[in-house]
Amino acid sequence: MANDIPTKATLTPFDRPNSYVGRNLSRPGARRAVAGRGTYTDDVVLPRMLHGACVRSPYAHAKIVRIDTTAARKAPGVALVMTGAELAKRCTAPWMGTLKVFEGMKSAPQYPMAVDRACWQGEPVVFIAARTRAEAEDAAELVEVAWEELPVVAEKKTALDPKTPVLHASLGDNLAFRKLIDTGDVEAAFKAADHVIEETFEFGRHTAVSLEPRSMIADWNPANERLAVYISNQVPHMMQYLFSRTLGVPEHNVRVVSHDVGGSFGMKIHSYGDEVAACAASMMLGRPVKFIADRLESFLTDIHARENTVRAKIGFNKDGTITAFDIDDLSGIGAYSQYPRTSVFEANQILNITAGPYKHPNYRARATVVYMNKVPTSQYRAVGHPIGITVAEALVDRAAETLGMDPVEIRRRNVMEDNSYPRLTGSGIKVLDLSHQACLEKLVRLMDYDALRAEQALLRNKGIWRGIGIAAFIKGTAPGPQGLYGAGGAPIAAQDACTIKLEPSGNVICAVGVSEQGQGVDTVMQQIAATGLGVPFESVRVISGDTETTPYGGGTYASRATAIGGEATYQAARKLRAEILVIAGALLQSDPKVLDIRNGVVVDAANGTLRIPLSEIGRIGHFQLGELPNDVQPTLSVTHRYRLLDLPYIFTNGIHGAYVEVDVDTGFIRHLKHWVVEDCGRIINPQLADEQVRGGAVQGLGGALYEHCIYDENAQLQNGTLADYIIPMAVEMPDIVVDHVQTPTGQSELGAKGAGESGTGAAPGVIMGAVNDALRPFGARVTIQPMTPEVVLQALGKL
């Protein structure tokens, strides 16, 4: 049953001796970073640069009666004080965070800074540019805002109650979006099932906490009316559109550059008002303006994620067959739907992916998305997946418990068979090339599952309470233009592109639309380009993260860089190779078909005899064109674009295992070991893929165990420092064993699927499963994340 090796036994171009696909090559960017020679946005200093700071709303909901900036304008070093109303006048139109594909969705128009009313604590109100950040902050303290507090919508559960105030009168109520998926006949299935179990789950709002906060420099040059924005970001072309559209600068006059990005995780793909304000300030002053969010500003204004309550039901029979799932999600987003990707993706993804690995024929899923006076939520790593996976896996575990069946066995009986694709999930999504069975069996071996169970039983006799968790998943990666972006109307490319050029030296420049935040995108593209072309790795240089020098692309989001950008790069390299062989054929008077490029040299394909190095092709192709026949005009530069056809996503799959120990007196959870087996298709760089999975898993564990944006009843954030908002530390995290099954996607020649979020999606579910396994002898069960000691003790009835 298990297929541990690529499914096709035949040799592919990636098995060639000078292929770099499947090899661990270290990242050139890493060498700079460890020497302290990275170039993060805050490291950049431009001539005559000013520094920005914001006055922000101290209230979750309040009317701006009056703003007095007189004292601030006179403060030392101050060059500009700009209110939200003044900024709004420079904006072409307000933002509207809706997409056509989300039928019936509502949102209110939003300006980058509050104009007459602030709708969340931290919303920017006044932007100040001064000689130093310190002076800008001093001046911010001198701004006097007269506020009139308004009633606050702080609770998602009562947001739709008739007596709850309506946040945006024009919307009529606080509802952003509703959606229902209903396949089969869930009610009939529940009636027919031997057992039906219902449970409600709570997920606490958390956020990305990139170690480098949002950072940018806006540099308007009045002489040529061009705006350059250096910004820590994942999506340079989307930001180009955003600044262009918001401030009315023609798109081709906006350049967006992302140097080294100090973490992003989906948080840096959105619109932020303070960043637009910095651009406007630069345009008003004709000087560069830097804005770096501090940590409190980051907690208050970066997008948040996952404030959800999910009521869920599972129907199953005595033999362990699952017949139906029914989930009802309530998502509490923020005061607006985040432009331009919206704030309803998370709920939408929960509906799409919950119980995705299983064969149940009946599935009903409902989402209700409501507005409240908090900072908007939007896409953060593994959007929706942690919630949907936690819910489904907890229900599967309860079904197993009810039947006295092993959690592995119930999954074995219900996962889709590896030979059954293409097929539809319960939510109606077409899935291809998945490997649930292979991954499950590999995980069981990797964990030495039976030995762990034996150890668990032994330790229970000694009063040591350990638990084992298993969580299977599907993950939507590499979205296509038929899905939510292109079709939805968002100005975000789902295609991506590579421009590859042979230089006179014979070296290769490869410019890509996908971008690097430390995952190793540049290295992976370098490996793919070198492989596609047949040149040494070192002879390729990759350029990314600059709208001026890269072909238009979507950037890096939704685990798309390798799957989409990688295929574009591979095909571009193959096209350039073909052209080089035509030129070589003309020079050598050979048929290009009998030639190949190996290690940077054109050779006879049959026996590898060296014919002409690429340095000669480069020299002749750029300088000595007289050596070529008149009908051969070298271009030596190819742009190739790739998009996913006919599918909304390339779905991947995998499974996690976890082994924990719970101290039933203190409620502390010790995470002892974590395993992941996942299938991201053909792996380009195994080490980089593994580290994506490890880092992603720990990020998921953070949300499940510690991370929580805690708000009081006035929607005031209670823990806006890293002392109070806990992220995982080294000592709390376990070693993580990672392995793969590789089922290449049939959607591309490269066969790569996304890997960046597969660690994050199932980590919260597997750790909850493990904790509940540990608590089982006490008849206790945790259904709330983060699973703080308090939550564990409450479950045990000790608090």
């Binding site: 935040q517 995290m733 070693d735």
Partner: protein, 161 residues
Amino acid sequence: MTGEETTEITLTVNGERIARRVRVREHLVDFLRGELQLTGSHLGCEHGICGACSVRVDGVVVRGCLMLAVQADGAEVTTIEGLTDTGEIADLQAAFVERNALQCGFCSPGMLVTAADLLKAAKPATREEIRNFLSGNFCRCTGYHAIVDAVETTLNKRLGR
């Protein structure tokens, strides 16, 4: 609010004698980054938790955001740039690159400064002890496993194990 209060300080940074007039409210890392353009030390939280600004002052690892520049008067300060130039942690840096013990790299300078302290002690350490030692330095990308591997490998090599 008129002119800011400033004062003269003299200190050694990465082996070089430096004399500057600094704003008294400026913390050490802003001084290193802004005035001396040593941008390897990073600011992640500015309240002493994340460890990205860790530098060595008189042989001890400190949070550069919790120390004022004026407090460094007369001190010997070593940043990631200095540790790189002297070659003290060349093996550790190579291990970080080889093991991919960093992704975005924003935490790496601080992480390396802290790990250098562990290596200086030249005593065997378990993975648990390494994890404990590094827990004042947050990394949001790697999940720490690769960092622990790189530090462990370097330590064992130095101890000839």
